[in-house]
Symmetry: D2
């Protein structure tokens, strides 16, 4: 199904090369002022446009745009609000919005009508549904995440009113962990027609104690679910994560650094210290080298770059879903 | 809440030092023959008793029992079936079962009445609920996982009828990756009064194509949710996982080894190749060194050991929940 | 929340005097041919336009239009399909659609900005949400049911492929039970500036045996839920219904007429005989007499008339939600 | 499925002639004192024992026990608490309980092994599940409602702390509406080996304004769902109900009596006036006349009598499920 959450729910719709993508947000309290400009800037950030929070830079052309696909840069991603908001204030009713697909170029994907791409879900879609929108991956396209970013931006604004802040950033690209070199590294990968993996770290501050449930609905379980639902995400860890395997208990708990270990969650429940988690994104299979085509659609050299605001959006929706804290 | 799944649902109940733990399984088809002996052997495996599938050995006492706590070894964990089964055949009605807590020793935990343990959820529980069953962690105790193993064992039997098999094993303990040395390594850690982390790998074979949904309800998202709901699990990865960060797309997709990358899932949907995922478990904080007490409850040197059947159980419940494939 | 169903889900959005109303249908199988003309004719039926299945007649003006409000007759209710359908065939992805509110006349409702109407939810909305879209009732308006009719029409088409047919009709208006006199009766009520109650009966044929669950999720419970969610519906009964109170068991079960008693459902589960249920609709409070205003918005003399296709739509969604029969 | 509610959830299990029936209540806040004696008296009331709130009288034998079956009178229905409660105080964890089936007499039902009873779900069960516990109806038996009464009694205690009170009573038996004559009337029906229908009215006082949702999750929809899930219930109405069909708007809303019309709910949301609804129960098919057997199990002459506490229990669970009002 295409709905996320139980109390603050987001229903996503739209094919990447159809008329529009969009979503319906339900469970948003009435009377909230929504900053529409902020939402637009989040969308620009996802699209790889503009300079947002320092992690992205001016786009000047394919060579130096940080590995973001030209389609993303061209699209304006303008949100049309259909319901739930009157004069910038929420009504407590479902908020429906759409983003028209102005730059749909189905002809770029014509060659796919009778082919499956390596590393894509083309074949499983065909088998599962007996039908497949071969144009740009249909629902599987990363374009669907634009709707998540709109929804997540509203969730973030709700959380900000409670002084909860979510900030994600790229912490590794390939084997590179020096953020200053990410741009040059990715540009080189792209010029080579290749792609590369990346790790996004997300930090949530201002959490009250008590969010999460002790058994199945642990906070980390919901965060993992949300992150693993993002395209190309292959792993999730929080606190001590995979590195913790080689730690002894005595080492871990008797040090000063217990916050890092817990990752802000104890027994499935937020403990009021910052929540820290990381997600890994694989390199996209849609690059010139892999597909052995020059004009093989329009894709990113490092999908982790544009995943940053999506990680924030999904984390915000997880927290907004615990509506009564 | 204490229910897992939507169609094949498992509701867990019981405090670790109360009268009984147990569960209710709903959505189990009618007419299924259940092998009760198999369920009992899975429970023994979780308890660290007996020799099951080679990964566990005879328990001969605390020093050489592979780091399993004496309580686990003493308890018989006998399942009492209350409903849903008649003469070993399911009725299509809810299957309720209980396991009595024969070995509850609340006096071992008396010192905790006015203390919070390092690395445990004691404090967040007190804050969240205003009340806390200080005896052995109440619901947070790993004992709750015995009920999961019973439910998972039934799920595994349902899957086995469709030729789907799930097998998890310990692949790393501390920095040790040679399975033959795990026992000696863990025994040494325990004798030192310390604890250590571990990684469990799980492999699912016989999957049909088409299980999972393209957007939020990706198969990997449900698996991650299930694993992250297990106590002490700090991370989940599948296919290329975290190692994939340093891979280039050309390297990854043009090699022979694409199955490893996908981990058996494409676009959120099973692709019929084996599903492979890994979970990391941190060292328990409840060891003699950390707590600075000799008689500090009865705990495991490496919780990943007993997590193995729990990982299988949760994976089985995830798959059984997709009831109509 | 604004979502109905669990497997075949319908999410409704839109204020009656905002930009658009609409919905998202999820869980619709891929490859289904949808008859868009049929959906349009269902909408016309709900709007009181055209002659559909004989129960409605040509609208010739306010006096003789069967008590349907002029707004309903003016609006074209044209559906714009945003996603999920390509060349009239479903893609298996969410079907999103909107109906623009072309005839919104907020000025008609200006007098309501500082008033609560008798018999309406104006006051509870204000208390619950702290904000209220006073224009035409916002979400509470019967206009929202247009989106239900679109969704229900798709559900009916899915059911028709399984030879399940749903047909509702008006069986009582006031104390009148002769269908031929309904039009004249309602016209008289309207000319008098008053309103009147009505009963709609719905008959479902072609049901297989086995739809429904024995305990809580009884088929009749889901039908009752769906019907009671329609505006102005004050009661639901099936089979022998309220009349059955005065029947003796011997009388009821030893007669020839046991089908009528069961109403097509036994123990919560369809028994393959026709399902028959009835809903009662109260007179609307929005009439000239009650409001003591001549130009008091534009309302129906007997809301049960236009409830007929809504009853069918909701019944269809209940059945489509049991997706695997 | 066998779970009711989403936040305050009740999972029911157990066959009427198996080892035990029982349930799990989840979402009950921590720190609540539970009056176990009160729960026991509610169970006695459902069983037709004792004098509770005046509507039942001393049982003196089959002839004069108000039409309650001898099995009901013999059974003690003692609740065994398995988890979630410590020293009479809730822990915030799932509350599991069982009631042993001390009086199971499967031999009484032996004749049913190869027969379907008129007016029962025997046949649809066989078709749906391919297996059937012929002994006393298995899950379909009214005995399952004992578990509902336990859960509902806890819900009522939670509501009572918010000054919300629920009281149901029998208001009609056959055509008799004089409560003083009910006992004699039912006794006569029973002596004749027959059965009769009845209507239960339920009144909820102390409701705050604002409980319920405007579109699908209307409060009346949830109440209807809950009532229609009770065995033998054939109809639900609230406020003006079915009688309202013959009312004109002017008559209804300009009278003094608007509270009766609304039934305490406006636009799906509680309006703070008393909620009043009614349910009709058909005569049971299991009487001597219908079955043409003398020793045909042990059944009630008017099931509506024992439905009274079940109606209260279900209403309480509906309201407790709106946990955050």
């Amino acid at each position: 199904m295409n709905t996320f959450g139980e109390h603050f729910t987001f229903t996503s719709f739209g094919e990447s090369h159809g008329r529009a993508i969009g979503g319906v947000l339900d469970g948003v309290p009435a009377g909230l002022h929504i900053d529409l400009t902020l939402i637009q800037s989040e969308l620009d950030r996802r699209a790889g446009r503009g300079k947002v929070k320092g992690e992205r830079r001016k786009a000047k052309g394919e060579e130096v745009n940080g590995g973001v696909s030209p389609r993303a840069l061209r699209e304006t991603d303008e949100v049309e609000w259909l319901s739930g908001v009157m004069d910038g204030v929420t009504l407590g009713t479902p908020i429906a919005f759409i983003i028209r697909n102005s730059d749909a170029r189905p002809e770029d994907y014509e060659w796919l009508r009778h082919s499956y791409r390596i590393g894509h879900a083309d074949r499983v879609y065909q088998e599962k549904y007996g039908i497949r929108d071969h144009r740009g991956g249909g629902r599987a396209s990363a374009r669907e995440t634009a709707a998540r970013v709109v929804a997540g931006s509203i969730a973030k604004q709700i959380l900000a009113e409670k002084n909860i802040h979510i900030e994600a950033k790229l912490v590794q690209v390939g084997e590179e962990t020096n953020a200053e070199r990410f741009d040059a590294y990715i540009a080189a990968i792209q010029q080579d027609g290749d792609s590369i993996g990346g790790i996004v770290e997300c930090r949530i501050t201002g959490m009250p104690i008590g969010v999460g449930e002790p058994i199945f609905d642990k906070l980390q379980a919901h965060l993992a679910f949300a992150m693993m639902s993002i395209n190309a995400c292959k792993g999730f860890e929080y606190g001590s994560g995979f590195e913790g395997v080689s730690k002894k208990g005595s080492e871990m708990y008797l040090s000063e650094n217990t916050r890092l270990i817990s990752g802000g969650i104890a027994g499935g429940i937020s403990d009021s210290t910052p929540i820290v988690f990381r997600c890994v994104f694989k390199p996209t299979a849609s690059n010139r080298k892999t597909l052995r085509r020059e004009a093989a659609g329009r894709h990113d050299a490092c999908v982790a770059v544009r995943a940053v605001p999506v990680v924030e959006a999904m984390a915000a929706m997880v927290l907004a879903d615990w509506h009564d804290f």
